[in-house]
């Protein structure tokens, strides 16, 4: 297995799928000549030309809407939104068009569209470029939502997303683009709806979303080394469809659950998971489901404030230990 960076893994997925299928094309702001704001599309304009790697004006709602239309017309567009906050300008087309068209038109047409976007804090970009909004998309029936946290998942899930006949919100993380990891060379897509168990343990279940899957894993190592607590660490990898069974199986074993996400607490992924877990595994729980989330504020700029605004390893450790407190 080759060791590649997350951004390179995404780039490989795009290249391979474009080589395999003429109907796959890319459009977005600065994806061509500039090679992508985060260099994910580097080299693709040169290889595939302007027809298939299309620089767009800064018109998010229309770029996404054109992606939906092109998908209805038989193509497989991959639209890049420069950062997840900008997707809010396209929410109309994402919800009213992409997610709804198949259902409201009685399955006469499908929308095989991928909308890629990075999220997350840590780069001091302030409150308009740093949020984590996966819960917004998870909310919407008709969308698939992927939140890959490793280079291998980034590649395998992006390939699956491009081949899928549904609209996919593909959420990358700005802090992960430079991370290295082993990526299988066979080029096989992963399946949506299959969580990854990153670490096994019998004492507590920690579910980490997006970058927080990595934070959860670090926290689990600390829990083992310093507190003799062995954690199951689960990365759901896709939020729709959701591999709830893997999470439930773990919770039935450990009787404790901690959900870690970078997004806001109200109406967040953790709120949703907590509800599902208590509905499906109430009798197995020895403690309330714990959530570790981003602070309930717009993301601040100043470095100490920003670092304090999203979860770190120690927050996860504390939350896991708290599930063992006598109630």
């Amino acid at each position: 297995m080759a060791e590649v960076r997350y951004r390179e893994a995404l780039n490989q997925a795009l290249r391979e799928e474009m080589q395999a299928d003429e109907s796959v094309f890319i459009m977005g702001e600065d994806v061509g000549v500039f090679q992508g704001a985060f260099k994910v599309t580097a080299g693709l304009l040169e290889e595939f030309g302007e027809k298939r790697v299309r620089d767009t004006p800064i018109s998010e709602n229309t770029i996404v809407g054109m992606g939906v239309g092109a998908a209805m017309g038989g193509l497989r567009p991959v639209v890049e939104i420069m950062t997840i906050n900008f997707s809010l300008l396209a929410m109309d087309q994402i919800v009213n068009s992409a997610a709804s068209i198949r259902y409201m038109f009685n399955a006469q047409v499908k929308v095989p569209l991928v909308i890629r976007m990075p999220q997350g804090g840590g780069h001091q970009l302030g409150p308009t470029h740093s949020h984590s909004l996966e819960a917004w998309f998870l909310h919407v029936p008709g969308l698939l939502v992927a939140v890959p946290s490793t280079p291998a998942d980034a590649k395998g899930l992006l390939k699956a997303a491009i081949r899928d006949d549904n609209p996919v919100i593909f959420i990358e993380h700005e802090a992960l683009y430079g991370k290295k990891g082993e990526v299988p060379e066979n080029g096989e897509p992963l399946r949506f709806g299959e969580a990854a168990v990153r670490r096994e343990g019998d004492d507590v279940t920690i579910v980490g979303v997006s970058r927080m899957a990595a934070t959860a894993l670090q926290a689990a190592e600390t829990l083992a080394a310093e507190h003799e607590v062995e954690a199951d660490v689960i990365d759901p990898r896709t939020l729709r469809p959701l591999d709830l069974d893997t999470i439930l199986e773990s919770v039935r074993k450990t009787n404790r659950a901690v959900i870690v996400e970078e997004g806001w607490p109200h109406g967040g992924v953790g709120a949703n998971f907590a509800a599902l877990i208590q509905e499906q595994a109430f009798d197995y729980l020895d403690a309330p489901v714990a959530r570790v989330t981003g602070a309930d504020i717009p993301m601040p700029y100043s470095k100490p404030l920003e670092q304090a605004a999203f979860p770190h390893e120690e927050h996860v450790v504390q939350a896991a230990l708290a599930t063992f407190r006598d109630l």
Partner: protein, 420 residues
């Protein structure tokens, strides 16, 4: 007030429309045009009645008065071309060839509707006829239509897209964004602004600083032109030319059709924003009457011919109503179907969640909730009226008519608020 002063004809004159006289096309074409315009008018009149009888729910936006714009423009399309429209689109579907039975059934929310009862009046769709939808968001269909044009261009086809919007849509961000991209990428698309003088209840001069809407796209690189939307031949000529430019020269075009809707924005519209006189003035320019007069004065068709076309249209609409009445409501078991394309996907994950059910429910792949979920769905659907679930079981048994002719549809129709 915007409605004072200028009459319809004066407005049209001020708008620079000179009533060009186009030669009549051949007899068959004239007959077809008249037939289609009559079908649309009779359909809309009957739909309005069915709404008043509560056979149709939600909002109902009628296009009476705009028939020449719709038929003139759609007759310019080739079979392979795509049509996209707004939420006022019953006429567009009919003009493109969707059976009135399937349009009426959709308005009734029935399973045989052209969107299976899932879309309703604002969301008709007929993929086979390349009618890619009515859309409920003002300006929302513009990017979609450019995307369809991109697909047509990408595939190196000769297909073009006719993308219709109302005058109100020209104020949306998607208007300028889409014009820019269509011109930038040389897409085969014609934008048709159906200027019926009002964005809901706000008149053109009160919602748009530039009231010559054909100018609004020019700065983005899409040349605009105007046609008399009350004249089916003028609309056809101008849209045909625009489609030729878009198709052959890859230069997207905009056409403003100046027209008028006789009815309110929707059926819930008290029409306090305009005078009866204004409506009457426009009615004197009625697209059907005027075209009928031309073809009969020319001797191409006799009054009897026209009467026959009209009665055939009315008969067809009666059949459509009967069909819609007899069509069953969609099966409740299909409530969760087709949210996703499931083929080739991982079926074991949770795609959809039915929180009403005490059991797990995985949506369309697996129905573990089974009977309980079905019972709960039926309990919910029962609020639609006692006869809904029973009719579903007895497919072709007509419902008892428990509401008098012409009575209000329900105790209170929703006021049309800020929704559109």
């Amino acid at each position: 007030m915007a409605t004072e002063g200028a009459t319809g004809a004066e407005k049209a004159h001020e708008a620079g429309i000179e009533q060009p006289i186009h030669d009549l096309p051949g007899e068959d074409t004239c007959r077809l045009i008249l037939q289609k315009m009559l079908l649309i008018r009779r359909f809309e009149e009957r739909a309005g009645e069915m709404y008043a009888k509560a056979r149709i729910g939600g909002f109902l936006h009628l296009c009476i008065g705009e028939e020449a714009t719709i038929v003139g423009a759609t007759q310019a399309l080739a079979d392979g071309d795509y049509l996209m429209s707004t939420y006022r689109e019953h006429g567009q579907a009919l003009a493109r060839g969707t059976e009135p039975e399937r349009v009426m059934a959709e308005l009734f929310g029935k399973v045989d509707g052209c969107s299976g009862g899932r879309g309703g009046s604002m969301h008709l769709f007929d993929f086979e006829r390349r009618f890619l939808g009515g859309y409920g968001i003002v300006g929302g269909s513009l990017p979609l239509s450019a995307g369809v044009a991109l697909a047509a261009d990408y595939g190196e086809t000769e297909d073009a897209v006719l993308s219709m919007m109302g005058d109100g849509a020209t104020n949306q961000g998607t208007f300028s964004e889409t014009m820019n991209l269509a011109a930038l990428w040389s897409l085969p698309v014609v934008f048709l602004v159906i200027n019926n003088q009002f964005g809901m209840g706000t008149s053109l001069e009160r919602h748009s600083a530039v009231t010559d809407l054909s100018q609004k796209s020019e700065g983005f690189g899409v040349p605009g032109s105007r046609c008399d939307g009350m004249d089916v031949l003028d609309t056809h000529a101008v849209v045909s030319d625009a489609l030729r430019c878009a198709r052959e020269e890859r230069k997207p075009q905009l056409v403003e059709a100046v027209t008028y809707r006789y009815r309110g924005h929707s059926m819930a519209d008290p029409e306090e924003y305009r005078s009866k006189e204004e409506v009457e003035e426009w009615r004197r320019r009625d697209p059907i009457n005027n075209f009928r007069q031309r073809v009969t004065e020319d001797g191409m068709l006799s009054d009897d011919d026209v009467e026959k076309l009209d009665s055939e249209a009315q008969e067809r609409i009666e059949e459509a109503v009967e069909f819609a009445e007899n069509s069953p409501f969609p099966d409740l078991a299909a409530l969760y179907d087709d949210v996703y394309v499931m083929e080739g996907s991982s079926p074991h994950a949770w795609w959809l969640v039915d929180q009403r059910s005490p059991e797990t429910h995985r949506g369309e792949a697996e129905r573990e909730a089974g009977d309980v979920a079905q019972e709960l769905a039926e309990a919910g659907a029962a609020y639609a009226g006692e006869d809904v679930t029973s009719e579903r079981r007895s497919r072709h048994t007509p419902r008892g008519d428990d509401q008098g002719e012409g009575e209000p549809a329900e105790e209170s129709r929703d006021e049309e608020g800020g929704a559109d």
